[in-house]
């Protein structure tokens, strides 16, 4: 097992319930701890897996503060209840303001980050170079490819400076080549800061598990209405985290089978 320690709790979900005319989510309890890995600025990558229509998007919205649960709460840093704007959110289709150029969109986000005050433009240029988008700063979202939009969305949230970035189905609709690039990009982000935490909500089990350190499985239990966290899998303990080409390993495939059975 890779040398690491789990320190303070950075996100806590307590007894979250969500009901409309019927229960959608119930008894959602989990926490994310700061992982310390000697020699690395290792952030956290957590995946929430569940079948389509199980309530992943609702949980995603609750975690991001965009939706209030019926009861329970999500807290971050020093027990502060999460509110919209605390977390960076990357929507499934990488939504960007269509009336803003890439540069304008990034500037809007950078201006919300107090630590970048006065250095917004330099930060954008720096990040654009890192994300290979320097030549695209004056384009509108409609002129970008899916992969470029994804990178701009990630850049926007990075510039906003939130420690948490929530990603809704980041791999859906990407071709094989783009998928590899997206994975590489997310790993790069997770290594950019010790407290950087990516929470991926996905039904693409293989890809999301391959880049995660922890997996939470959202599913229904027999005789109980509403989805809950059925299982937590610590991939570091199983020596499946932070390894390239892990998808080819037999134990990885066994874990995938285990997850599938649980769904």
């Amino acid at each position: 097992m890779t040398n690491h320690t789990k320190a303070e709790i950075i996100l806590q979900v307590n007894d979250v319930q969500l009901s409309y005319d019927r229960p959608v989510l119930r008894d959602i309890n989990f926490c994310i701890k700061n992982i310390i890995r000697p020699g690395f600025q290792q952030g956290q990558v957590v995946t929430l897996i569940g079948r389509s229509g199980i309530g992943k998007t609702q949980l995603f919205k609750i975690l991001s503060g965009l939706q209030k649960p019926t009861s329970g709460q999500v807290t971050i840093h020093n027990n502060q209840p999460v509110k919209a704007g605390d977390m960076g959110v990357i929507f499934q289709n990488y939504y960007l303001f269509e009336w803003r150029t890439v540069h304008q969109s990034l500037l809007l986000a950078a201006r919300k980050n107090k630590s970048l005050a006065g250095q917004e433009k330099q930060s954008i240029d720096q990040l654009a170079e890192q994300f290979n988008l320097t030549g695209h700063l004056n384009l509108y979202p409609q002129q970008l490819s899916g992969g470029q939009r994804q990178r701009v969305s990630i850049m926007q949230q990075l510039l906003k400076g939130s420690d948490f970035i929530l990603l809704d189905e980041p791999f859906s609709g990407l071709d094989v080549c783009m998928l590899d690039k997206a994975v590489e990009l997310l790993l790069q982000v997770s290594l950019s800061d010790e407290l950087k935490t990516l929470i991926i909500v996905s039904h693409d089990i293989e890809t999301s598990v391959a880049i995660s350190d922890t997996v939470f499985i959202l599913g229904n239990e027999e005789g109980k209405a509403g989805a809950t966290i059925k299982k937590e899998i610590d991939l570091i303990e199983r020596d499946l985290a932070w390894q390239k080409h892990i998808q080819k390993e037999r134990r990885f495939m066994e874990t995938i089978e285990e997850i599938k059975t649980c769904l």
Binding site: S64, G65, L66, A84, G85, M87, G88, V89, F91, N93, Y95, L96, F97, E98, W99, L108, A109, K112, Y140, Q142, Q143, Q156, Q157, K160
Partner: protein, 233 residues
């Protein structure tokens, strides 16, 4: 055209005759003066209408103004003819009467179009604002004011036709200042059908020119609108 030419008898002028009158009309100062009067009045009415529309549309996110905006939408079915006397009492002179009637006639159509734009806003636009830490006013500014500016322009373009249609009717009420409506009524009065049709052609061509001009101006001011149109087609 062929059908028109064939079916024209003594009462309906032949296309060639109308074309001749059209060319003649284009060269007269009479037409230029009257077109300028009408255009000025239309543009003035459009400006007031868009300002009133924007106030009601932006405020329609507040429940009280929402119902007020919805009432304005229903006012599309009110006919101006029955209200002329009331407007005459409320206004000082013919110029104000025409302007207020035009604004009253245009605003419900503008509000209808703009509310439909607001209703169809993608919820992700609001969500993105929230995730970027915007408050409600910043969200309103970014999503509705800045984000929909190109669509306001498009509404302006689409509804120019309504204003242009109403101008001839309104100008017939107060003829002292002239205008194409007044000119049209004069030609009608003397059964000068050739000039009536020639003037209709002028009104039609000016309408088309404005439609094109506003469309081009929209693409120039908001380059992304061109991309949206291209994507949609």
């Amino acid at each position: 055209m062929l059908l028109w030419h064939t079916l024209s008898d003594g009462l309906i002028p032949k296309p060639g005759k109308v074309a001749e009158a059209f060319v003649h009309l284009l060269g007269t100062k009479l037409l230029l003066d009257n077109v300028l009067v009408s255009l000025l009045l239309t543009l003035k009415a459009m400006l007031f209408s868009i300002l009133i529309t924007l106030v009601f549309a932006y405020l329609s996110v507040i429940p009280f103004f929402k119902s007020l905006a919805q009432f304005i939408v229903k006012c599309r079915y009110l006919t101006l003819t029955g209200l002329i006397f009331i407007f005459t009492l409320l206004t000082k002179d013919g110029s104000q009467l025409k302007l207020s009637l035009l604004v009253f006639g245009i605003v419900p159509f503008f509000v209808t179009s703009f509310l439909s734009v607001i209703v169809t806003i993608n919820p992700q636009e609001y969500d993105l604002c929230k995730t970027l830490g915007y408050n409600n006013w910043q969200t309103l500014y970014e999503v509705i004011i800045i984000g929909k500016a190109d669509q306001v322009f498009e509404i302006l373009r689409q509804n120019f036709a309504i204003s242009w249609l109403m101008i001839t009717m309104v100008e017939g009420l107060s003829m002292s200042e002239g205008g194409i409506g007044t000119l049209l009524i004069k030609y009608n009065k003397y059964n000068d059908l050739t000039n009536v049709l020639a003037l209709q052609l002028v009104i039609f061509v000016i309408g088309l020119c404005f439609d094109y001009l506003l469309g081009a101006l929209r693409h120039w001011l908001f380059p992304y609108s061109k991309l949206k149109t291209a994507k949609a087609s």
